[in-house]
């Protein structure tokens, strides 16, 4: 599997009042980086959603979903809606759903040209 555990340990903070979607659903103790191929981009509010395929522990393709900040914030970070496209291989850094669902909240993605792009107000 291509998950690379960064093993950034720390206490889970109380859910900030200003959160929109709750971060309580994610394992904030462990930041991971995964390589995947984009299968769909939903440029939606209040969170942009991207579907991607990665390889699971047994080397089989697995379908995953990740959410990012809203379109207005991504635009201010410098990410255009047409920069991430279906078929593109990207590295996604973020946190996984605690439930074990194939879902993550991304904070940064690395584009094929090597550019690291912020996608969350939390970093």
């Amino acid at each position: 599997m291509t998950w690379r555990l960064s093993l950034l340990a720390g206490a889970i903070a109380t859910l900030p009042a200003q959160a929109h979607h709750s971060w309580a659903r994610y394992d904030g103790d462990h930041v991971v980086t995964v390589t995947g191929t984009i299968t769909a981009v939903e440029w939606t509010n209040p969170h942009v959603v991207m579907r991607f395929t990665t390889m699971d522990e047994s080397g089989q393709p697995a379908e995953w979903t990740m959410e990012m900040d809203p379109p207005t914030l991504l635009d201010r970070y410098g990410l255009r809606h047409d920069t991430i496209t279906v078929g593109m291989e990207v590295k996604i850094t973020g946190v996984r759903a605690r439930s074990g669902a194939p879902m993550m909240r991304a904070v940064m993605i690395e584009l094929p040209d090597g550019t690291q792009q912020r996608v969350s107000s939390r970093v």
Partner: protein, 335 residues
């Protein structure tokens, strides 16, 4: 005004006099230890054409695109710019323009030169940004500070006081359970000062009579009359009802008439909630903001929130549609 309100306001103004704004603790962000954010990256910066004649009708276009910058500026002459854009320039002599992008880990720069043949290149100060004259705080026709502009609090705005409860108020605490979707998923207005604490900008339009605050988040707005008293009856509202008055150069906004449906610092409250907001424009680029929150049915002492609203003249309020993928947010977590 009730005694408790006077106490809140006096405390607030005493704090102002002490200059305690800078004492807010560092912001919390990521749930856990956050990874370091990516550095500011200048993806492109160009001048087209790179040579011009120098006449009054001659010009070149600067174009740029940047990722991850907290702030961006082009020197000389241009100043703060948005994350991508184009700017027409007409230098009379050969001039080197430098784009400075500041983000996590510091600043990165890139320069382009527009050549005007036969001229002596312009000498630009090595730290042109620091050499720029500070812009004075704008004033309204009545002489008061003009708060107009587009600002964001980012993560500076925090609860900076202890939360002490009156006896029996423990039941107001909101327990967050694993798996909760969070209050925001309902798309209901978060109240005051929570709307300002979100990671979205707000636009202030200020006249001597009215302060209008338009939030990108939820597309909320508040119209705040200046110099008026509250109406005798205030129907309960998520964002309350606001009136303002000046205390020196600080605009004090009195917010009451809330419903009991929002959450403050992890606690529900009653319709007796009162918030005093203080807006003090300390520089052209900043408003120091405080909010004092009291509800004598819940809190034994006012809660104090403090932070800095930073001006971003290069931004515009964008579209925010809360309900689009919140309608079936749970579906994203299917196993």
């Amino acid at each position: 005004m009730a005694c408790v309100d006077r106490l809140v306001l006096l405390t607030a103004l005493a704090t102002l006099a002490d200059g305690a704004f800078a004492q807010a603790p560092p912001p919390a962000g990521f749930p856990g230890t956050p990874p370091e954010g990516p550095p500011a990256t200048i993806r492109s910066f160009s001048a087209e054409p790179s040579t011009i004649g120098g006449g009054p009708d001659e010009f070149a276009m600067l174009r740029w695109e940047v990722s991850n910058a907290y702030s961006l500026a082009i020197d000389p002459d241009i100043g703060t710019v948005a994350t991508r854009g184009a700017q027409r320039v007409s230098p009379a002599v050969t001039t080197t323009y430098t784009l400075t992008a500041t983000g996590t880990g510091g600043a990165t720069t890139r320069s382009v030169t527009i050549t005007v043949p036969g001229t002596t290149p312009r000498v630009v100060a090595r730290d042109a940004a620091a050499a720029r004259e500070p812009t004075p705080i704008p004033r309204l026709p009545d002489g008061k500070p003009d708060l107009s502009g587009l600002y964001i609090a980012e993560r500076t705005l925090r609860l900076v006081s202890d939360v002490t409860l009156v006896s029996g108020a423990e039941s107001f605490r909101v327990e967050t359970k694993e798996g909760d979707l969070g209050a925001g998923v309902s798309c209901l207005p978060p109240g005051v000062p929570a709307a300002t604490m979100m990671p979205f900008p707000l636009q202030i339009v200020h006249t001597p009579d009215v302060l209008a605050i338009m939030y990108e988040a939820y597309h909320l707005f508040r119209i705040v009359p200046i110099g008026r008293e509250h109406a005798e009856y205030l129907p309960p509202a998520y964002m309350g009802h606001s009136v303002a008055h000046w205390d020196g150069d600080t605009l004090v906004v009195d917010v009451r008439g809330f419903n009991d449906k929002t959450v403050i610092a992890g606690y529900r409250h009653t319709e007796d909630l009162v918030v005093f907001e203080l807006y003090h424009r300390t520089a052209y680029e900043t408003i120091e903001y405080e909010a004092y929150v009291s509800d004598s049915n819940v809190f034994a002492a006012p809660l104090r929130f403090a932070g800095t609203l930073t001006l971003h003249p290069e931004w515009e309020i964008g579209e925010y549609v809360c309900t689009e993928n919140n309608q079936d947010y749970e579906a994203l977590f299917k196993e």
